[in-house]
């Protein structure tokens, strides 16, 4: 048996109600204080059950490196990934920051650095405060009340427990006879069903579902990776949400078809998943190796950095194949 005990019929009907696209934020079925949405579908029993299926002898690393010049958002004001030195062996000799003198500074070669980055740079979880409707996010939290000058006070990645869950890769391109989906291609329910059928995969409540577009093959060329990405359309997102997905991820920068097909909502999948369905998103996943090895079902282990109040948490998620 798979799936949490709380996913009974009553819960299912509440979730179903939740999944209807309505263009406004949802109240959480997990109570007025809930900040993590469908991550609540996960549980110790799921984690125990899933981990017991995993083969620890092979680990797929689903994250990308963080480096200067890497593809990242450039709508306006997002800082690029930067790294710089704070202490270097030769600099220490010249400035003696600890006051230990030249002999010791020559002996002890110290290097240390700092970074700055947009939180949605590299492989990361989008938290539920990232997109909402009319100034509110999932569960009705209001930006006017809960967004300070520097960060949200709720719904950040600091609230996200480590996740051990069933993972499923939906490899869309081969189901359509392609290596990589074309620019701005929309992945809807038909494409998802086609791919799931080809793989003979089924989705279950509490799954971490990953949708492969093949866009990662353009990595790390920003001009090729970023614009006009293929991805989920809203119907596709609803389809996955209705299966009870706990998390939905993609190998592209924004998970969804861009530009959006909806002329009235430029981020229609984000707003739906985060604000209506309560489903966190993972972006910039490297799914190439999983796909190459046709590893469609696996055990997902992930724990994002707990940036207090942020709208995203950098993460290095792991996929472990099932034991033979």
């Amino acid at each position: 048996m798979c799936g949490p005990a709380l996913v009974d019929d009553d819960f299912r009907s509440r979730i179903a109600a939740l999944k209807a696209v309505k263009g406004e934020v949802s109240e959480s079925p997990f109570g007025p204080d809930d900040e993590i949405g469908m991550l609540n579908l996960l549980s110790p029993s799921i984690a125990r059950e899933q981990l017991a299926r995993a083969d620890g002898g092979k680990v797929f690393d689903l994250s990308v490196d963080l480096f200067m010049g890497m593809p990242t958002w450039t709508v306006g004001g997002e800082p690029p990934f930067s790294i710089w030195m704070v202490h270097t062996p030769r600099g220490t000799l010249a400035d003696d920051p600890v006051g230990v003198g030249p002999e010791q500074n020559d002996l002890v070669a110290w290097s240390a650095d700092a970074i700055s980055m947009f939180t949605h740079c590299g492989t990361h979880v989008d938290t539920l405060n990232h997109f909402g409707y009319h100034g509110r996010i999932w569960n009705g939290f209001s930006a006017d009340e809960k967004l300070g000058s520097l960060h949200w006070q709720v719904a950040g990645p600091d609230r996200y427990p480590p996740t051990i869950a069933r993972g499923v890769l939906i490899d869309v391109p081969p189901a359509l006879g392609l290596d990589v989906l074309p620019d701005s291609f929309a992945i809807g329910p038909d494409e998802l069903e086609e791919a799931l059928g080809r793989q003979q995969s089924e989705l279950r409540p509490g799954d971490v579902v990953m949708v492969r577009t093949g866009r990662m093959r353009a990595w790390p060329d920003p001009a090729a990776y970023l614009p006009r990405e293929p991805g989920l359309n809203r119907a596709g997102a609803v389809y996955l949400a209705e299966t009870g997905a706990a998390v939905i991820g993609g190998d592209n920068i924004a998970l969804e078809q861009l530009p959006a097909a909806d002329p009235d909502n430029w981020m229609s999948v984000h707003t739906y998943l985060l604000a209506e369905a309560g489903i966190p998103i993972i972006e910039v996943l490297n799914l190439e190796e999983l796909a190459a090895e046709r590893c469609y079902e696996f055990v997902f282990i992930g724990a994002c950095l707990k940036l207090r109040g942020a709208t995203a948490g950098p993460i290095r998620p792991l996929a472990l194949p099932l034991r033979q």
Copy 2:
């Protein structure tokens, strides 16, 4: 059987030679290209064996939140942890960064943020380029040749594979009848043996070893957490290295007794472990829950952010207890 096949007698003697404190960098026994040192002791077979022992139903999260005002290094020039908004729902209404107009900006409530931080802030892995001797690091890589203007070209966390290993907590204070070690207390071989004996724990090659000082109880008060920390002295570090530890971690900011007892080396444990013994360090671990539950042996799962060429990688390591 536990431990990698490569830990035969010949390897042991080479490692033993390596562990002798000599004040100069070591050549790696894993070859001239090695950048990760004793992480090479880990292997798929260890990971498979260890994961099979884990109970996924309980996960200890060993990391701290990242937030403004948190304790971090302040020797000079290290930036504090900072977070700021790049897009806000109300700001988007005023500046329309995507050019979609007021109606859609009102509908789509967008929040996004950026961070900057010293890489040694929060729970993190110190990589082998962090400290060396005379301008060189582990395996002889030279800062003059391999340290660019902005970052090292070798030995960064981008080289570190995800780690599944046997983990051992050495809880020092209770072995000495204390809750928390006093300021600048030195943990040497005697204290380690005392604690291991009390716990009836043994150390094995390839272990991720964590030394608890109790300093985390002062978290997050910088004035109480940072100065004059208790920690390993060099003899204690050598003791652990000689057991074949793959990684050594602590609950304090710098793992080691500070100020250092060695008048000639203000970071004598860091230089020894990183440059001589090739053992990465994890700092700012929250070991309180593990200690409270007397979970001295566990399965360690960790994967640091792959900051290319950095001297540290933020990490959110997990400890899973053994199956009953």
Copy 3:
């Protein structure tokens, strides 16, 4: 004759109406598009007249250095002044950023750096968007309409013309028989008149008025310079505003007595001067040399960095004594 032609009786009465403390933002007498307030009192004819009085052979530099560890605001989230290297001679040899090869990298020793700072760090002009009332600033501009996610769209230092004006130093401590005013000392109309009388100085419309507290003698010790500063109280600020001051400056971090005497407004002088009186403020001025040389009247030349939409502009203002 001194002062702009536009300062006729009608203007004076409008300004007088403006100066009444009312706890709400003022409409500008200079029209609905005005973003710079009393800087409009300045004019080419004033500048010409003033410059003709100046002795260029002596220049007082009224600004402080910008350096790591310097005193700056620490209420929460303000980044410290930071500088770091982006290119170094040895780093360039290792990373060859331009692709010119080792010989040329050895020949051409390249150094370049970057900074980050709170805009109110060091000597700076506070612009009229820095403080307002009830979400609005000077001339009624609304944060909801004009504050984007990253910066204001109006009233930033990019709007500020270079300023050549009559400058007056009001040296308060010696008028009270002191070297330095005590902590939290309030400078009101009596103290200002006392000091002006001692100096035999008079204030005129369009002046750049600088109030010395002596706090700069504690520079650069943050613990001594920042807390509980002596400064203007609201009555003192009104007194100066009523003289027609174009700009008011101080040698402390916030110009005003802190903590504020007004229990209902923790920045009562800032809100009054910026939002009601339309008078930009200069802070962290080094007035020590002017005071030592008893140079109470001088020609002010200043031009802040044009940070588009910022709430402050770093400035290095100059004071030139009058020709003999």
Copy 4:
């Protein structure tokens, strides 16, 4: 009479010796501690004399705005100009950073921001530590000895006194019958003489000399402003240095013809002017208005931000026309 007393024949011959291109750093004729080079040619008597010639009724502002997306260096690792909010009126209501409660946070509308930038972004002075030869800069200061981990300890803009000097614009394009010089056009002695002759301008020791290429007309389009800029070649730079220029400026990003004609030195004008001739450079000057008004001789007033130890200082220089 114009020019400092110290420019006697002996000095002229020493300067002449200095100006010979030799591919190594020069010792300063101003002594072993000198960090500012030819700025030493300026003096109170020059400043007095020049200021007395100025008409304060018209001020040319020679600087550009600093804003996100502005043209700036992108060789690698240079951060773009960024600005972000640290305090906003609505954010303050949500996070109450001062602890004054909702009523006062509603009353007092607080906005404050921070910036980060490459120091060579916008109008700025290149200091003499910016380029050198073989690890040394002007006057022999060695990077190994004087470049700390974060900044130089010598020759930064904090050493630069406020400058009042004779300014000369050399408007090259009209002398060649052009509006704007073509890509990578080299300005050598012939072009300079042609332009000076057309203007009937002469150069004198201690001048601030500004060379207009017309590139500023492409501002602020990075793709048009930055690449393949027309500018001084080394012979042109030597020509100006030999006149005794105190500072040389340009309206482009790098003053010099790029790519450099010299196959062995990709920054041959920078290295010559800074390391051999001791002449600071000003870049990204807006000379359009000066040119339009044919104001070829003027009084220069400038004072860069005193960023301690930096390789550049942001500046907002002013040009005042001569009195009629």
